[in-house]
Symmetry: C2
Subunit: 419 residues, 2 copies
Amino acid sequence: MAQHNAFYAQSGGVTAVINASACGVIQACHRHADRIGKVYAGHNGIIGALTEDLIDVSRESDETIQALRHTPGGAFGSCRYKLKDIETHRTQYERLIEVFKAHDIRYFFYNGGGDSADTCLKVSQLSERLGYPLTAIHVPKTVDNDLPITDNSPGFGSVAKYIATSTLEASLDIASMCATSTKVFVLEVMGRHAGWIAAAGALAGNGEGDPPHLVIFPEIAFDRARVMARVEEAVQAYGYCVIVVSEGAIYEDGTFLADSGNTDAFGHRQLGGVAPTLAGMVKQDLGYKYHWAVADYLQRAARHLASKTDVEQAYAVGEKAVELAIAGQNAMMPTIKRVSDAPYEWRIEAAPLVEVANREKLMPREFIREDGFGITAACRRYLSPLIQGEDYPPFDNGLPRVAKLVKHRVERKLPDFKI
Amino acid sequence: MAQHNAFYAQSGGVTAVINASACGVIQACHRHADRIGKVYAGHNGIIGALTEDLIDVSRESDETIQALRHTPGGAFGSCRYKLKDIETHRTQYERLIEVFKAHDIRYFFYNGGGDSADTCLKVSQLSERLGYPLTAIHVPKTVDNDLPITDNSPGFGSVAKYIATSTLEASLDIASMCATSTKVFVLEVMGRHAGWIAAAGALAGNGEGDPPHLVIFPEIAFDRARVMARVEEAVQAYGYCVIVVSEGAIYEDGTFLADSGNTDAFGHRQLGGVAPTLAGMVKQDLGYKYHWAVADYLQRAARHLASKTDVEQAYAVGEKAVELAIAGQNAMMPTIKRVSDAPYEWRIEAAPLVEVANREKLMPREFIREDGFGITAACRRYLSPLIQGEDYPPFDNGLPRVAKLVKHRVERKLPDFKI
């Protein structure tokens, strides 16, 4: 069969293992050299396609491509940019076709979350709607773990391992200090709408009194009096209280805690942190000395503590995307199918993009303890396998070694295009 | 020679490796069984001695003691409690002597930072001032690296490695997102008066344009206009800007950027929230989208990413403390002597406590770049060896394994004592 080129791009918030998926895509493309010629990566995601800003991946050494597997961030640049419908923004789609034609691109791999799945779905329709023969495959990725159908999302397992480990470690710190110092520690984690990452914090403990003593989910309306009563209970019983709170924690009326107009613990106007807001409430209502941390990008970039399971799955969905494309399966997404919990077994399957795009998978209520402040045994059975195994990057001179790409640009053939 | 018991206690903020020092002390005591009988650990530091709340370390298994080497936090409980002078608080010192007599304690090992060195010094004077034969040795520990004489402080190397790694990883994240999203990232790190930890963030990069683009030290007065100009420069030149800021960042007039108004038990101002403050300035002055992280306890508890060098040194100072005590060297502290930078060589020496207590080692001006926003080559030569080597803890079920002490309490022989 004829040989054509492939386009790969990263989209949305990056993860510790999105480059492992890139590695999977690229190495699988190389293994199908009879069908796939060059692999061009979009510089800054889909924007690279629109502006004909393409990185020639074949100019990178095999070692560099292999090093992507242990490099966090998005090596080719990502973007937050959502294509509108073909009807409302036809010029953009026509431009994509021009670029794809100019560079003989017939395979499109888009590595992202829910919004990106929507973009990929629209691109997949080019074939049918605008008559250009393109096979578009979405490669799943999101730390939020909120993609539907797939049992879990690559990127989540590593942030889950980082948050569970950090909660465990910080809890030991607090436990040692609580007699005369800090009594309450608040760790803010990501998850705007879904509490999966907060739930991972709960993996740190599994016995009576083990920290964290409270997990605050975006799925459960925040009730200050109930939360404070529970904090007080924990301090009385164990001498200290560890709270893992999701950035998306909301009041009954849907207002985010961080946007509630509260002043922080220092009396300053809140600048967008749930942790300081909650710590301020603790100080105000209970008078306890507190510490708080906001992990922010550290959690999703922490490749040094990646879950081995997650790295393997991220690579596998990248690899599978290429196999689907070679098989002519347009508008699909590789998914992770859990075969068993213990021992954990999984395999890669695939789902049509129409079933994936624009749907958010929240925590099921049966994964959240009845009191709303912790996880159930079912949730633990689900989460625990995802953080198994370590996959340390090599270190040079005390620091993780990361892929250094030359990012050789493909010669432009088309006029400029303004996005 | 006669055999007597030893007392060991942890003091002040704990670190990722203070338990490695505990491990060094305890194992060395066991090796000197002819001179040292039982090792009693103070529950919650010196408070454990005052309240006769002693943990019998000999009831812990050898495996548990060995596991201290890879367990963060303070396994026996720490405290923020500073003894006053013997003159002003004679009853406390008399109580210490009663407890030591009651349990035949003649060796006192106190594991802490600058404030704790002062406590240890006072206890060491018991021998001379109150006629009780005690040998008191201070075991150095502080993430702040601000102890004098010793080339570096155990605990610092690990937090330095964590902050350098986290800065590197988060910078890759930001670099991938900056085209359409976050342009400025602020990481707040510990260091109330000394910028050592902030300086460690600078190890993440070593070339033109490498992040972090700004390091904000407590040693250099914060000038908002100059800082914002440099942020703008970085965004223009590289597309994004990464800032590592010390919690102790101060204005020219000595006001902390984020002064909570609270003080801790040692009378120090409680700080926190510099990152959101600085991020708010960036938004206000330059309009850039930002993210910020506050590592807080995560940084000093991150045993999973400890520096091997640090772990070895933490163990070695614990071991040396016992040797000094056995040799009758009262009122001393083991110190780390750097023999050479590259290859890095070090050995343990010792210094009199009077030269250590209540002295803070700030960053020398020649370690801070002339513009005040980065480190010099000399600083890099100093810092780099301290983060060398990894020393991963064993993991069980996806999480670090930690020592689980039984903490068997020694039977009380004295009446209660109120502190």
